[in-house]
């Protein structure tokens, strides 16, 4: 038994979980073509959820701040991007891939910029006064989330908002009898790029080193002469921007969005952050991929069960590893 766990540990340990899940699903689903479609969908969803969740996880790890208003960044990102795309619908209809790509890039950029500014505002105005006070933090960020959601309702109304998307991301690649939606492939690729960039920043730069050290022991980093609170604003803003980007990508994925989107995704984001282990970027990715795959497989195999699947996954993982799969602190 111990030998087995040693071998598994050397092969990647908990990182193998998504592979194992995919393998089990392959047997249960039976049809390889459906399995490929679902797996790609799960990976794409996982990547988008990862973008939304990674900031929340780091923010908690670094300053012990639990932000229940994080979903507001996701919603705003989605609506800002959708509005930019709608405003540039001329470019989208121009049949020029360059113009379409530019419109998409601008939309994402607008979401990211909005996330940065909103993150700065949120950190300095809402959260700073309640550092180290979890109860008031939860209450205040919850209040901020209500206000943000109502603001979206006031600006964009409660009816579903149609998101135009570039033609080159419409449709699907057909390989044999396997069909893969192009947008899903795109979302996965973009998410992966962001993940790689994050890992590089965290492991290769001084700022990244400080963030990782701060997640482990904030006081010690300060005792070495660094202002973690100033570092924290940067991390908070980056996390908000990532959440907004995740929301923008989600808007293109769903093509029809409502102000409730952030709140609905928030539950998934929380579950991802908890099972991944708070404060760990790799853990968040692992959690996000697991949740993405699980939702898609179960949505196909047993739609009724899919509703509670994330919850069951979370309970199971917490019973096995109380601090999540890959907690930041050893």
């Amino acid at each position: 038994m111990e030998q087995l766990s040693n071998i598994l540990g050397r092969m990647g340990g908990v990182n193998l979980l998504p592979v194992a899940l995919a393998a089990v699903a392959f047997v249960l689903i039976g049809a390889p073509s459906s399995w490929v479609t679902l797996t790609v969908a799960g990976l794409a969803m996982g990547m988008m959820v990862f973008l939304m969740a990674s900031g929340l996880s780091l923010v908690f790890g670094l300053m012990d701040v639990l932000n229940f208003g994080h979903s507001a960044f996701v919603s705003f990102g989605a609506f800002v991007a959708a509005t930019v795309l709608a405003g540039l619908s001329g470019w989208l209809g121009a049949e020029s891939i360059a113009l379409e790509a530019l419109a998409l890039a601008l939309a994402f950029l607008a979401a990211i910029l909005f996330g940065l500014v909103a993150g700065w505002f949120f950190e300095t105005v809402i959260i700073r006064p309640v550092y180290r006070d979890h109860l008031r933090q939860i209450l205040i960020t919850m209040g901020a989330m209500i206000v943000a959601e109502q603001t979206i309702l006031a600006f964009w109304g409660g009816t579903p908002y149609a998101v135009p998307r570039p033609h080159f991301l419409e449709g699907a690649w057909i390989i044999g009898d396997v069909s893969i939606e192009i947008y899903r492939g795109f979302a996965f690729a973009l998410g992966l790029l962001v993940f790689i960039a994050m890992v590089l920043v965290l492991n290769r730069t001084r700022i990244g080193l400080l963030v990782r050290a701060g997640v482990e022991d904030r006081e010690m980093v300060e005792a070495l002469g660094f202002r973690v609170d100033r570092l924290f604003i940067g991390v908070f803003m980056a996390g908000s921007a990532l959440a907004a980007l995740g929301g923008a990508m989600w808007a293109g994925y769903e093509t029809l969005i409502t102000p409730a989107l952030g709140g609905e995704l928030m539950i998934v984001v929380f579950i991802v952050v908890i099972i991944g282990g708070l404060g760990s970027v790799e853990g968040t990715l692992l959690g996000a991929i697991l949740v993405g795959l699980m939702s898609n497989y179960l949505g196909f195999l047993a739609p009724k069960l899919a509703l509670a699947s994330n919850m069951v996954l979370m309970v199971a993982i917490l019973l096995w590893r109380p601090n999540g799969l890959r907690p930041a602190v050893k």
């Binding site: 001084r206 990782r212 482990e216 006081e219 005792a223 002469g225």
Partner: protein, 234 residues
């Protein structure tokens, strides 16, 4: 000349007063030892100097400057290093990354690194290992090394010998002697035999108050005083 001066420090943690009246002067150079029983307030004193707790009322002066209300990071930048009781090692970072992080500009002076590696050879051998995999003694070495990777004027060290093997304690004493040649060490200790060989001046605190100040030589010679102030804890 006085390097660090504490006056009538009172520190509360939450609602509970831990320090009632802590005041002593640490002269520049050598090792100053702070003794006291478990829970007397030694660690709180160090944390109050570092700005991790804020004493009120009371003040901390370093090199003539009032640092009582300064931010921990700024206090550190003035040339004070802190080696906490739990060592404060970043486990997911490598040994070298731990050291780089302790420098102000992200560059390690090769001469100092060489000196550190001479003091603690294990840190050279495991330089690319993640710090959580080190032994307790090696972690303590890393924590001390981090404190001297740049020139500092004052180094606060909290119970460095706790739980260490005798051989490592000896190495540690040797290291402290060398470090004390160009920096001042404020050492909190329970291990009196370790402390007496190092210290020049000393103070004893009990129940949040300084109850004795003097030279180590006098204190080491007075068994009755030791027994009264430190009791069976020694």
């Amino acid at each position: 000349m006085t390097l660090l001066s504490l006056t009538a420090m009172q520190t509360k943690i939450g609602q509970y007063a831990v320090l009632h009246d802590v005041g002593f002067d640490v002269p520049e150079g050598g090792v100053f030892v702070l003794l006291g029983r478990n829970g007397a307030g030694k660690t709180t004193t160090l944390r109050s100097i570092m700005g991790l707790w804020s004493p009120s009322p009371g003040s901390v002066h370093f090199d003539g400057q009032d640092i009582t209300r300064m931010h921990t990071a700024d206090i550190a930048r003035m040339g004070i290093a802190y080696v906490p009781e739990n060592m404060g090692i970043f486990g997911t970072l490598t040994v070298d990354e731990n050291l780089v992080l302790a420098t102000a500009r992200g560059r390690i002076d090769p001469a100092r690194l060489k000196r550190i590696h001479a003091l603690f050879p294990a840190l050279e051998r495991f330089r690319d290992k993640q710090a959580w995999s080190l032994s307790g003694g090696q972690k303590q070495m890393l924590s001390v090394a981090r404190a001297i990777i740049e020139p500092r004027r004052l180094i606060l060290i909290d119970e460095p010998t706790k739980g260490l093997a005798p051989a490592i304690v000896d190495a540690m004493a040797e290291a402290f002697r060398e470090i004390a040649q160009d920096a001042t060490i404020l050492l909190v200790e329970q291990n009196f035999n370790f402390a007496r060989t190092l210290g020049r001046d000393m103070a004893v605190i009990d129940d949040g108050r300084v109850v004795h100040r003097g030279s180590m030589a006098d204190f080491a010679a007075d068994a009755a005083l030791q027994d009264r102030l430190l009791g069976l804890a020694m």
